[in-house]
């Protein structure tokens, strides 16, 4: 285990960015999102929840898949994939790190998504333990320990220092490069802090949510009358899906550029949108209630059914904070709780 003074972090960022593109939480116009490090950027490693999650690092909101050039009867296909160079994502919270596993189970199975895979393989992930979890956090419900995230390297911000622990070969290699900035230390302070974090987490309001009702008969949950009331105020915007670290749906579209090149790209889609999965045959879900139900059925029923019981929610609480009308997965889980009020 190593440590570095928080006041020296700039040196660490600079040192890492000399060898790798470095993505980490950056404050811009009042909000913190993951962005590429530059000396003029305001890094905010202590921000608990970035607005968007770090999933952009592997699954960007918009991404070119292939380009075409059309000349008469000839169509030239241009492969836009490039060799991904190693890069570092720093400051990843335990919930967001677990979300990478949720995405892996979608993108790294047959048919393999090489766009995702290439970035995933190229990344060195530096996680950051949550020393100050918030009321909106409920990662513990999904078996996540925010005091001890894994990743290639784990960091802990305690007092005036950042503690640094390499967990993998990749992590060791990065550590070797920047070791000169660190001083060696034992893990006593970290272990104490972890204990304190776990106590804080146990006192959060939503850490005891009961997921067992979602193991009931699927059709009973699907046909429940509760969805009507739960979705009543939903605007059908995509805020919850776009800030979500595990939402993985995308649309594929084409854009003709000024020089005539046709770019086929994918971009995040939202099951909240009225044209989601619209096909020539029509719309599978014609009402907002159905769309709303789909989002939570996917996270709490369908996905675990297909993935050995792993839920596709990690309890990051971003949807809790960003829904314009304060609808969220916590309210859904509570509504189905058998001990809860029936409405």
């Amino acid at each position: 285990m190593y440590k570095i003074k928080l006041s020296d972090l700039d040196k660490l960022y600079k040192a890492i960015s000399e060898d790798y593109p470095l993505y980490l939480p950056i404050k811009k116009a009042g909000e913190v999102n993951y962005g590429l490090y530059g000396e003029d950027e305001e890094v905010s490693l202590t921000t608990l929840k970035t607005v968007k999650s770090p999933k952009d690092a592997f699954f960007p909101q918009s991404e070119d898949l292939v380009n075409f050039k059309v000349d008469g009867n000839k169509i030239e296909v241009i492969d836009v994939r490039k060799e991904e160079q190693p890069f570092v994502v720093m400051g990843v919270r335990a919930c967001d790190f677990k979300a990478f596993d949720v995405l892996d189970r979608v993108f790294l199975v047959d048919p393999l998504d090489t766009f995702y895979q290439n970035k995933r393989n190229a990344a060195i992930v530096v996680t950051n333990a949550c020393t100050e979890p918030e009321d909106s956090c409920f990662c513990k419900v999904f078996g996540i320990d925010a005091s001890d995230p894994s990743g290639d390297i784990t960091t802990f911000i305690i007092g005036e220092n950042l503690f640094w622990r390499a967990n993998t070969e990749k992590g060791n290699a990065l550590t070797e490069k920047v070791k000169g900035l660190f001083t060696e230390t034992d893990d006593k302070i970290v272990a104490e802090e972890q204990k304190a974090i776990r106590e804080k987490i146990n006192s959060l309001p939503n850490v005891n949510l009961d997921l067992t009702p979602f193991k009931d008969e699927m059709l009973d949950i699907f046909n429940s009358e509760k969805w009507g009331k739960l979705s009543e105020a939903c605007l059908g915007c995509g805020a919850c899906t776009f800030v979500c670290p595990t939402c993985q749906c995308f649309d594929i579209r084409e854009l003709t550029k000024n020089d005539g090149t046709v770019s086929r790209f994918r971009c995040w889609d939202s099951c909240m949108y009225s044209d989601f999965t619209k096909t020539a045959g029509g719309q599978p879900r014609t009402t907002q209630m159905q769309r709303y139900r789909q989002r939570f059925m996917h996270k709490l029923v369908y996905y675990p059914e297909n993935n050995e019981g792993v839920y596709s929610c990690v309890g990051c609480g971003r949807c809790v904070k960003s829904c314009p009308m304060h609808l969220n997965i916590v309210k859904v889980i509570k509504a189905f709780d058998k001990g809860g009020k029936d409405e």
């Binding site: 811009k28 116009a29 009042g30 909000e31 999102n33 607005v51 968007k52 960007p60 909101q61 918009s62 991404e63 100050e132 918030e134 009321d135 006192s203 309001p205 939503n206 009331k229 009543e232 105020a233 605007l235 059908g236 915007c237 995509g238 805020a239 899906t241 776009f242 800030v243 649309d251 579209r253 790209f265 971009c267 995040w268 889609d269 939202s270 949108y273 009225s274 044209d275 809790v320 904070k321 960003s322 314009p324 009308m325 304060h326 609808l327 969220n328 916590v330 309210k331 509570k334 009020k341 409405e343």
Partner: protein, 322 residues
């Protein structure tokens, strides 16, 4: 009696008498702030709430609600009543089916501003009019209301009801200072073009194209938005092209110009805190300057200055470069 009880009694009274079939109001959430819009009926008024965390403007829900059978009672805060009138003007809601009860509003609060004060566990937030009493981390503190106001309530446009069949007002509502409404817009106007471009580029590059601003906007009631229409040629969900982001917000601002009542919902709901209302407010200021003072939704009228013609109208060419 507290306002919350008066409002609930009013809802019960109308439902019991059969004058309305449904009530559109707010429902208590799981914590101190997360109230949501909800429909209530005679048999189910569970969770009914009206307090300083009822920022959502209910007017737009009436577009769909007033298409359904039966009469509906809606509670509107002063600023919401302007959106209501505007929607009536545009024939988007059926006035005959709706009873409007205007509610006292001292300015809604932003829970983020409360959390930003550094509290860990917030137990209770009470409305003491000028001050907000917060019980958190085992202590009680008083914070000035104006410091915790929702972005939509900073520079409130008016505490007057543009429409109301009845009102419930317990405490006097102080009329806001008219001059402060456009102060931020004036500051933006004073910037050089480069500075202003940089300001908006910085803000709009945060946009994640979630469409929350559009979907919440009471002036955005097209049944099929041009941005969702695959046949329009500009449909798109991607946020990759910064030009598209800018196009999106500017097209939206132009489309609602003259119809935007300045309810501020766009800025309230933005997950990235982009001050979108300032674009609309700039247009409102320009309309005031060029056509005389105009407030959309103040009355039910078919024409705003941008779609009306008078001989005294300013000449567009005189406006260029002004």
């Amino acid at each position: 009696m507290q306002i919350q009880e008066l409002v609930l009694h009013k809802a019960e009274e109308y439902l019991a008498s059969g004058k309305v079939d449904r009530v559109l109001a707010w429902k208590k959430g799981e914590t101190f702030y997360d109230n949501s819009p909800a429909i209530f009926t005679k048999d189910n008024l569970n969770g009914f709430v009206y307090n300083e965390f009822c920022a959502p403007n209910l007017s737009k829900y009436l577009v769909n609600e007033s298409k359904k059978e039966g009469k509906i009672l809606v509670f509107l805060k002063p600023c919401d009543t302007y959106s209501f009138n505007q929607l009536v003007s545009e024939h988007r809601i059926d006035r005959e089916k709706i009873v409007v009860i205007g509610l006292e509003c001292q300015g809604m609060l932003d829970e983020k501003k409360i959390y930003n004060l550094g509290f860990k566990r917030i137990e209770k937030v009470e409305d003491g009019l000028d001050n907000i009493i917060i019980t958190a981390d085992g202590q009680q503190v008083q914070i000035k209301r104006e410091e915790l106001l929702s972005v939509k309530c900073v520079d409130c446009k008016s505490k007057e009801f543009a429409v109301a069949d009845e009102t419930i007002v317990v405490n006097e509502m102080k009329q806001p200072d008219k001059n402060s409404r456009f102060s931020v817009v004036s500051e933006l106007e004073k910037m050089t073009e480069e500075e202003r471009f940089k300001f908006w580029q910085n803000e709009l590059s945060k946009c994640i194209r979630c469409n929350a601003c559009r979907n919440v906007c009471p002036a955005c009631t097209c049944t099929h938005c041009v941005f969702d229409n695959n046949k329009s040629g500009i449909a798109g969900k991607a946020n990759s092209d910064s030009f598209e982001e800018k196009l999106y917000h500017i097209i939206r601002a132009y489309h609602v110009a003259g119809r935007c009542t300045d309810c501020g919902e766009c800025s309230r709901v933005c997950p990235e805190s982009i001050p979108l209302h300032l674009i609309n407010r700039k247009f409102i200021k320009d309309i005031n300057d060029n056509y005389g003072e105009f407030q959309a939704g103040k009355t039910v009228s078919e024409h705003n200055p941008l779609v009306d013609y008078t001989k005294g109208d300013c000449e567009p060419k005189e406006m260029v470069g002004k």
